[in-house]
């Protein structure tokens, strides 16, 4: 059954951004333009959460919040403020009335999703399941688009660069690639700089114009003599250009660098008595996806080898993010499905941060491997 949130904001723009951010999830978004409408919709729809602005005509957010908390039928609905009003005194005043969290405008869709996922489970919509990771869901974002109109080049890329954790999806035109990216964002794009009419650079610009795609790294393919194309690509923001004929090692190295994946490919390894998974500080979602792919491969090998213990070493991690939480849920579940016991290594600060999430509030982190092994 889909979750339901109510967005109360006098700005249609903000309501549209909220709706867009929630599109990949199994979520019904109700809307209201002011506090008065908000109360009426809240009574009719009984949302699971209310996103509330402060400055609105007719009835502002503070008054709506006050009335909501005084209503026995509505007071249990968690409220998250989403507002440009954020002086310390304003926040304290609103916090006293009772809100679960506070997002200060300007805000990104990522922050909204992350904050919401701390309060409610965001389940991917059936139709967009591959595009939106949910807590405990399968890892995503390992697809790399290759946009190239010469089949021989495509074959050379997909057959020679095949030892990586990513999978290739081929398009012959930039329009097809962009259309597909809007449905399921890729981890990276490899595009031929010799596509007609500067289509490669236009494609990059189109990606940069879409918030959900703007950070996607681009790697170009060009013959060494096409120095003007290469220079233009570098000036336009390509992360790298690999030369034709395809040099698999060079292209793979440039893709890894573009995806900031250097050093990640050994995240999981087998020792004589356990499987060790190391999570380094500030790993990106893409890096965690690759680490997850490794865990999925290694865990089967570990189970076949008779190893019964998986150690997740997070001692280098200072910030416990939603992405790390999702990674750990998926990875430990996979290990446990194969009969392996999981232990976590991390600092006391990390353990405290993990306790703020419902899913990880009961997890135990050990400071050292020795104490973890003793309990295991």
């Amino acid at each position: 059954m889909p979750k339901k949130i109510l967005s109360v904001d006098d700005s249609k723009t903000v309501r549209l951004i909220v709706r867009k951010a929630m599109k990949p999830y199994d979520m019904i978004v109700c809307e209201a333009q002011n506090g008065e409408e908000g109360l009426a919709v809240a009574r009719a729809e009984k949302p699971d959460l209310i996103l509330l602005d402060v400055t609105m005509p007719v009835m502002d957010g503070v008054e709506m919040l006050t009335r909501l908390k005084a209503d026995p039928e509505l007071k249990q609905i968690p409220v998250m403020m989403l507002t440009a009003e954020a002086g310390r005194e304003n926040i304290l005043k609103i916090a006293k009335i009772g809100v679960r969290d506070y997002i200060v405008k300007p805000f990104t869709e990522q922050v909204l999703v992350e904050k919401l996922s701390r309060i409610m489970t965001l389940t991917p919509a059936a139709a967009a399941g591959a595009a939106a990771p949910a807590a405990g869901g399968a890892p995503t974002g390992r697809t790399v688009f290759i946009v190239e109109d010469k089949p021989a080049i495509v074959q050379a890329v997909t057959e020679t660069v095949k030892n990586s954790a990513w999978t290739w999806k081929h398009f012959t035109t930039s329009a097809e690639a962009f259309q597909a990216a809007e449905k399921t964002p890729p981890a990276a794009v490899v595009v031929s700089l010799s596509l007609p009419e500067g289509a490669a650079i236009d494609l990059l610009r189109s990606f940069r114009g879409r918030p959900a795609l703007a950070a996607t790294p681009f790697v170009g393919l060009a013959v060494k003599t096409a120095s003007e194309d290469i220079q233009r690509a570098q000036e336009s923001g390509f992360a790298g250009v690999s030369s034709k004929p395809i040099d698999a090692a060079d292209l793979e190295a440039k893709l890894r660098r573009a995806l900031k994946l250097e050093g990640v490919f050994r995240a999981a390894e087998l020792t004589k008595d356990h499987m060790l998974v190391r999570i380094s500080e500030e790993m990106t979602s893409a890096q965690l996806d690759v680490a997850m792919a490794q865990v999925m491969e290694k865990v089967t090998e570990a189970a076949d080898s008779g190893l019964g213990l998986a150690v997740f070493d997070l001692t280098a991690v200072k910030t416990f993010t939603v992405e790390i939480l999702k990674f750990l849920i998926s990875a430990t579940r996979k290990c446990e499905d194969l009969g392996m016991r999981c232990v976590l290594l991390g600092t006391s600060e990390l353990a405290a941060a993990a306790r703020t999430f419902d899913e990880s509030k009961d997890w135990t982190f050990h400071a050292k491997l020795e104490s973890a092994m003793a309990t295991a």
Partner: protein, 180 residues
């Protein structure tokens, strides 16, 4: 004086806060860099304040005020073409996605963009003890016009450039509640 936490000559501080607000909101909401081209500050003579080049271009002007221990209003002057581009960036659209009747969509987006810039600016005032609240955004559209400030207002005009187009942020503060 004084019930405020602004320095005796607040112009430099206010300029820093305003530039920071514009850069932060543009970077977050439209993922574009806004580069400061020049700025103008005056408490009396407003005659040399910069205008957008070409008085005949259609402009969209977002306005949000702040009221409390310090009062003021900020106008964001955007050429219509830039306003449409920024609205599309906020909503993940292309200009071609908007029809002729979509001025309301652009107005709303620019109103919200202005609201966020002024909110970021005034939250810094609040944190300095100058509690104030935002007013509801409003939008003006047209050409061949500029808002005439009251004579003694502390006025700072900032000219920025983004995507090869220029826009203005015009900050007007009532000096009666400041140390001016």
């Amino acid at each position: 004086m004084s019930d405020t936490a602004l320095p005796a000559a607040p112009e430099a501080l206010l300029a820093e806060m305003m530039i920071d607000a514009v850069e932060k909101v543009f970077g977050t909401m439209v993922r574009r860099k806004a580069n400061l081209i020049r700025q103008f500050v005056s408490t009396r003579d407003h005659s040399h304040a910069p205008d957008l080049e070409g008085t005949d271009i259609s402009v969209v002007v977002g306005t949000v005020g702040f009221i409390g221990k310090i009062n003021g209003v900020i106008y964001l002057y955007l050429p219509e073409k830039l306003a449409t581009r920024l609205a599309c960036d906020m909503l993940g659209l292309e200009p071609s996605d908007l029809g002729d009747g979509d001025a309301e969509t652009v107005n709303d987006a620019i109103g919200e963009l202005t609201n966020m810039i002024v909110g970021t600016f005034k939250n810094q005032l609040c944190d300095r003890g100058l509690d104030c609240h935002l007013t509801i955004p409003s939008i003006l559209r047209g050409s061949h016009f500029k808002v005439q400030p009251v004579a003694n207002a502390l006025r700072s005009v900032f000219e920025f450039e983004t995507t090869d187009q220029r826009f203005l942020a015009d900050v007007l503060i009532d000096p009666s509640h400041t140390t001016l």
